[in-house]
Structures are given as structure tokens and as C-alpha cells.
């Protein structure tokens, strides 16, 4: 499957996937002598769910950290929305419309669910500090307008009951859901999910899968996710990148990847005689 960057494609379930939103070109990331990512190129297209899979230590999270700006690759280019991205700080990248959740939940534990998701709207709020200080008209109106958006997200994720609970008191599954809510608060162009289903039971995984599909479907959000549960990955993603030891060993639709001998080797091992 080779497409040029503006071409669209249609998935088996009838959705249209648009042009390239983000493109990684020949990314190499080294920590001293350790090569975490070796010359990897792939693209993420408008409206798709793109999975990155691979065994532990393959460099998947490092890849997200490159997209986020936590790591700066020694070689290669990152292209976002048709422009080559200069080396940026993570908070600048957030303002470009890239949001993310973490493998180990990184919520603001002392704040309520509501405040966490409101903080997610940080890039969308503009009132200057002196207006906030006196709670003057524009600042209060902005607060209320953003609260409305946050309430929509709360409804969407079905977490109305824990709206005012400090998130430190919530069970694990709900914390994961609130973290997704916080990322959605930014109304991102590209949503990165780092193992959204880690440590969940089957029902929680089903719920989370449903939320991810709904986010993609209702808001048209482009999603890139890392996940270890192959069942989930094969079910919900449109295209899959497979990494092993920092290198890309496969890229394509779930069916293509499933039948790729290199991928089977990496996951199941191969008999050497």
C-alpha cells in the first residue's frame, strides 16, 4: 500500500482516511551508545487510528516522546501538517494541537476530575492573568464557555458522577478514562495514546476501545496508539506500524501485518536449527 501524501483511501468498514497529518522521515534517536530508534519512517493520516506495536523495549514510547518533543532525534525530520517541524519544547507542540495520555497515569492527583479536564483546555483559553485575578467579565465568560465543552466531554465519557472527586481517590480504570478526557479537552488534531488499556480487565478494555472508536468517529480525531493487546489492536486500528529493537519491521493494515513473516518472528520467535 503506497499512497502519496494528499491521496485519500477507504477502509474496509467504509470510512475515508484523508491526507498525511504527520510524517516521520528517517528518525534516528540515540542515548549515548544505545540506539533507541533506527532510521524509522512512517506517516499518520487524517482521521485514522494508527497503532504502533512491538515487544518491550522496541522504542514505541520513545517514538511518542519524539512526536511530543520530549526527545529530539539526532537524525531525521518530523513533518506536521505539511511543514517541517523545528525542534520545539513539549508545551509549544501542545499548542500545535497534539495531545497525549501516558502509560503510567499522569493525572493531577490533587485536582478534581473537572479541574483536570479544564486544565486540558489550557491551550484553548486566552484571558490575560489580570482579568482572571479580578474575575472580570471576559475571564468569567471564558471559564463558563470552556466549562460547557468540558461538560460535553464528561457526558461523552460517562463520568458525571465523579465530576467533583479528586482524581487521586478514583479507581485505576476511571483514572485512565479521566486522562483520556483531559487529552480530549485540548480538542487535538492528533491524539497520542500510550497503552490506554494497560492493566485493565476485559470489560474495561471493551469500554476503552469503544471510547477510542467513538472519539475517532464523532470528533474525527486522528489517533496514534501504542498497545500490547493484539486483539484490540487488530480490531480497532486502520494501519499498524511494527517495531522491534528500534527498527521498523512492518507497516500496513492489520491483515498485512498479521501475515508478515518478520512480525511473526519478532512476536513468536523462530526456530533456528
Amino acid at each position: 500500500m503506497s499512497l502519496d501524501s494528499s491521496q485519500t483511501m477507504t477502509t474496509p468498514d467504509g470510512r475515508t482516511i484523508g491526507g498525511v497529518v504527520m510524517e516521520m522521515k528517517h528518525i534516528t534517536l540515540r542515548f549515548g551508545g544505545v540506539v533507541a530508534i533506527k532510521d524509522i519512517s512512517f506517516d499518520i493520516r487524517e482521521g485514522e487510528i494508527r497503532a504502533i506495536i512491538g515487544p518491550n523495549g522496541a522504542g514505541k514510547s520513545s517514538m511518542l516522546n519524539v512526536i511530543n518533543g520530549f526527545y529530539h532525534p539526532q537524525e531525521g525530520e518530523v513533518w506536521f501538517e505539511g511543514k517541517r517541524r523545528k525542534p520545539m519544547k513539549p508545551h509549544e507542540i501542545a499548542h500545535q494541537g497534539i495531545a497525549r495520555t501516558f502509560q503510567n497515569i499522569a493525572l493531577f492527583k490533587g485536582m478534581t476530575t473537572l479541574d483536570n479536564i479544564m486544565t486540558g483546555r489550557f491551550t484553548r483559553m486566552k484571558a490575560p492573568w489580570w482579568q482572571q485575578a479580578i474575575w472580570a467579565g471576559p475571564a468569567e465568560r471564558e471559564e463558563v464557555a470552556n466549562r460547557e465543552v468540558v461538560e460535553k466531554i464528561i457526558d461523552f465519557l460517562e463520568i458525571q458522577a465523579i465530576r467533583k472527586t479528586p482524581v487521586g481517590r478514583l479507581p485505576y480504570g476511571l483514572q485512565k478514562r479521566v486522562e483520556l478526557g483531559r487529552a480530549l479537552g485540548a480538542e487535538p488534531r492528533l491524539l497520542l495514546l500510550d497503552e490506554p488499556m494497560a492493566g485493565m480487565n476485559v470489560e474495561e478494555k471493551e469500554d476503552m476501545s469503544r471510547f477510542i472508536l467513538d472519539v475517532n468517529d464523532e470528533f474525527g480525531t486522528t489517533i496514534a496508539l501504542i498497545e500490547h493487546d493484539m486483539g484490540v489492536v487488530m480490531d480497532i486500528s486502520d494501519r499498524v506500524v511494527v517495531m522491534d529493537y528500534g527498527a521498523k519491521i512492518g507497516d500496513g493494515t492489520p491483515d498485512e501485518v498479521r501475515n508478515n513473516p518478520a512480525v511473526i518472528d519478532a512476536y513468536l520467535g523462530v526456530a533456528h536449527d
Binding site: 508545551h91 499522569a106 489550557f122 484571558a127
Partner: protein
């Protein structure tokens, strides 16, 4: 029974987001404010004002300031005493007419206008008029905000205990500076600064003849405004960015919070509060100040104790902590000396023992401070008389 939100429906997000969402709370707050502004001035005495109320009000401003930095933004500071000194001395300079000097003649060296490498003769470049006290206090706060910003820079690199040690440098440096820099105390022989008599709207606020009611009302008004500002800032976008940095700085960055802006703004706002507190401490409360005595390291610890005992990350906690630290010794002294008739020196020893014991007791009962204790009590009251 009386403390319920049942039936108290909110129909707008503005109403739901207000400071006191429960009607009973709102009334209680208004009554406390009304008593503070209208009732207390009627029967305030000189002793009550100077030993109890004014120090409580001023320390509340300072505790709110430190709580913004440490409680809300998670940056520990031991420089509070030094920042109070900046507020006090800046306020003093503006009260007495800020003078700026330059080198008018320089013999045997290069003349760089402000700096002379030879023997210099100085002249006054300009002298501002003596400002009214409210403006001087404000300028004390703003000057401290600028200084706080400067001493906040290390926070971008270091965290926790290490940052506390870095802010300790601010404490020692600033006290040293105001000891040595004779311009700051208007070249007085004693090295002290004395608050001259200043009026606001015809009432004397500072100076030896200012009355207790006026001083009390002045401090109360400032505290009221400052607490309102602090509440607004901490519930808005800026406050959320502070708390985000406190709770999880990496996640804060990923959602667009610039750590540099969040930390430095917390330092500036916090120092503004502490500076205003220091200015009041000098001009209204003490009247005369020697920097090492009035703004030493023990003031920094006192402020830190207040917010830890009161509750980190809570405006109410700042009040509770200030009340505990300021009022408890006075109360104990009155009970032991006035009530039991003990000699004052023995009472003073017991005062320390009992205060220390109480601090340990409260921290064991509720490590998150009096504010958390108060929250638990309110939760219980909402369900009373039922346990669940």
C-alpha cells in the same frame, strides 16, 4: 440538617463554580465579613489590635502568599523573611520620597554616570514626592514581585529540598543587603527604618498616633482584597497551571503549560503578597524595623509552619494557620498568666511546650492541615445526624 446542598440547585455553570456553592456557607462568610468590618471596630482595644488582630491579618496575607507558591505551585521557599524585608524597605522608600542619585563629579577615574572608579561626588538625580500609604504598600508589593521573580529563576532547574536551600540564599542575601545598603534606610545612623505618620482619606494609618480602629480596618481591607485576588487566581487558568506543575510537571507540559511561565508567575504573585505583608508589618504593625531582627530566618520558618499546619493549597488553610500560630501563644499566655496567675517566665516556657505539642497533635490527626480537618467536619455536617 442545616448544612445541606439538597434543594440548593444550580442552573448555571457560573453558579456552580462560585467560591461558596452551599448557601449556608455563603451566609456564614458574609456574616464573618460583616462582623470583621462593622462590629469589631466598635469595641476594639489597643491591646487587642496590636497583640492579636493586626498581626493575624498581616500574617494571613503573608501565609496566602507563601501558600500560592508552596501549596499551589509546589515550590518550597525559605526566603519569605527576605521578601518581607524587600516589601518593608520598598514601602519605606516610597513613603519617604524615593531618591535616585548619580555621580556629578568624578576625580581620577572614569565616570559612568552611576559608577565612578575614582573619588566621586554624588547629587540627587530626582526625588519622587512622598507617596500616600496605600500606594507605598502597593509599590512594596510590586518591588518584591520583581525581586521574587529573580530569585525564582533557580526553580527552573532545581526542585524540592534543593530549591528550599536555594531560596535560603535569598533570605540571607536580602537581610545582609538591607543591613549594608545605607540608601535603603535613608542613611540613618541607627540603621533602622521608622514609619513616619501617613494619612489616607484624612485618617492616620501609620505613625505613633494612629488609632487601633484605623490600623485594623486598613489591614482588614487589604487582606480582604488580597484574599479575593488569590481566590480568583487559584480557581482560574493560571491557578490550574500552577497546580498542574505541582502535581505532575511532565503532564502539565504536554498539555501546553510552559513551566517557565507557571513557576515564575507563581514566584511573582507569591512575592507580591509577601511584599505587601512585609510592608504592612513594618509600617502599620511595628512602626520601626531593624532588618535582622524583624525579618530574620525565623520569619521564613514561621510562615512555612503556618501553611503546613493550616493546609497546603488552601486559602482557608492560610487563615487557619496564621490564626493558630499568632493567636495560640496569646491565648495560652492569657490562660496561664491571667487565669492561673503563674509567673510570666514560667508561662513563656510552657507556652513553647504546649504549642509544640499542639502542632504535633494536629499534624498526626490530619497531616493535610486544619483546612482538611475543616473539610472533613463539613462532610460530616452535610450528613448529620446520619453517619453515611
Amino acid at each position: 440538617m442545616f448544612y445541606r446542598e439538597a434543594g440548593d440547585f444550580k442552573t448555571s455553570y457560573a453558579a456552580d463554580g462560585q467560591t461558596f456553592p452551599i448557601a449556608f456557607d455563603r451566609w456564614r462568610y458574609m456574616i464573618v465579613v460583616a462582623i470583621g468590618f462593622l462590629a469589631i471596630p466598635l469595641f476594639i482595644t489597643e491591646y487587642m489590635a496590636n497583640a492579636v488582630l493586626i498581626p493575624f491579618l498581616i500574617w494571613s496575607v503573608i501565609a496566602i502568599g507563601l501558600n500560592i507558591l508552596t501549596g499551589y505551585c509546589g515550590q518550597v521557599s525559605l526566603g519569605t523573611g527576605g521578601f518581607m524585608a524587600v516589601g518593608a524597605y520598598a514601602c519605606y522608600k516610597f513613603m519617604t520620597g524615593l531618591d535616585v542619585w548619580y555621580v556629578s563629579a568624578c576625580e581620577g577615574g572614569a565616570n559612568l554616570f552611576f559608577l565612578c572608579t575614582g573619588v566621586a561626588t554624588y547629587s540627587v538625580l530626582f526625588e519622587l514626592p512622598e507617596f500616600n500609604i496605600a500606594f507605598s504598600v502597593l509599590m512594596g508589593g510590586l518591588t518584591t514581585a520583581a525581586v521574587g521573580l529573580l530569585f525564582g529563576l533557580p526553580s527552573l532547574r532545581i526542585k524540592g529540598f534543593y530549591l528550599a536551600v536555594a531560596t535560603l540564599a535569598a533570605q540571607f542575601f536580602l537581610v545582609w543587603l538591607f543591613n549594608k545598603w545605607s540608601w535603603a534606610y535613608n542613611y540613618s545612623a541607627s540603621g533602622q527604618i521608622n514609619a513616619p505618620t501617613r494619612e489616607l482619606l484624612g485618617f492616620e494609618i501609620t505613625g505613633p498616633t494612629a488609632t487601633a480602629e484605623v490600623k485594623y480596618l486598613f489591614c482588614l481591607t487589604i487582606l480582604f482584597l488580597m484574599a479575593w485576588l488569590a481566590r480568583n487566581l487559584t480557581r482560574g487558568r493560571l491557578g490550574r497551571s500552577w497546580m498542574a506543575i505541582r502535581d505532575m510537571d511532565i503532564a502539565a507540559e504536554i498539555i501546553g503549560v510552559n513551566p517557565l511561565k507557571a513557576k515564575l508567575s507563581a514566584f511573582a504573585v507569591s512575592s507580591f503578597f509577601v511584599g505587601v505583608g512585609g510592608a504592612l508589618f513594618f509600617s502599620v504593625y511595628l512602626g520601626a524595623v531593624e532588618v535582622g531582627e524583624a525579618f530574620g530566618i525565623q520569619k521564613s520558618f514561621l510562615a512555612l509552619f503556618m501553611i503546613i499546619i493550616g493546609g497546603l493549597g488552601s486559602i482557608f488553610g492560610s487563615f487557619a494557620g496564621a490564626a493558630f500560630i499568632v493567636l495560640m501563644p496569646v491565648l495560652l499566655k492569657n490562660i496561664m498568666v491571667g487565669g492561673f496567675g503563674w509567673p510570666t517566665d514560667i508561662a513563656a516556657h510552657f507556652e513553647f511546650i504546649i504549642l509544640g505539642g499542639l502542632i504535633i497533635f494536629f499534624l498526626i490527626v490530619e497531616p493535610h492541615g486544619l483546612a482538611a480537618l475543616w473539610r472533613t467536619l463539613k462532610e460530616k455536617l452535610r450528613l448529620w445526624p446520619f453517619p453515611h
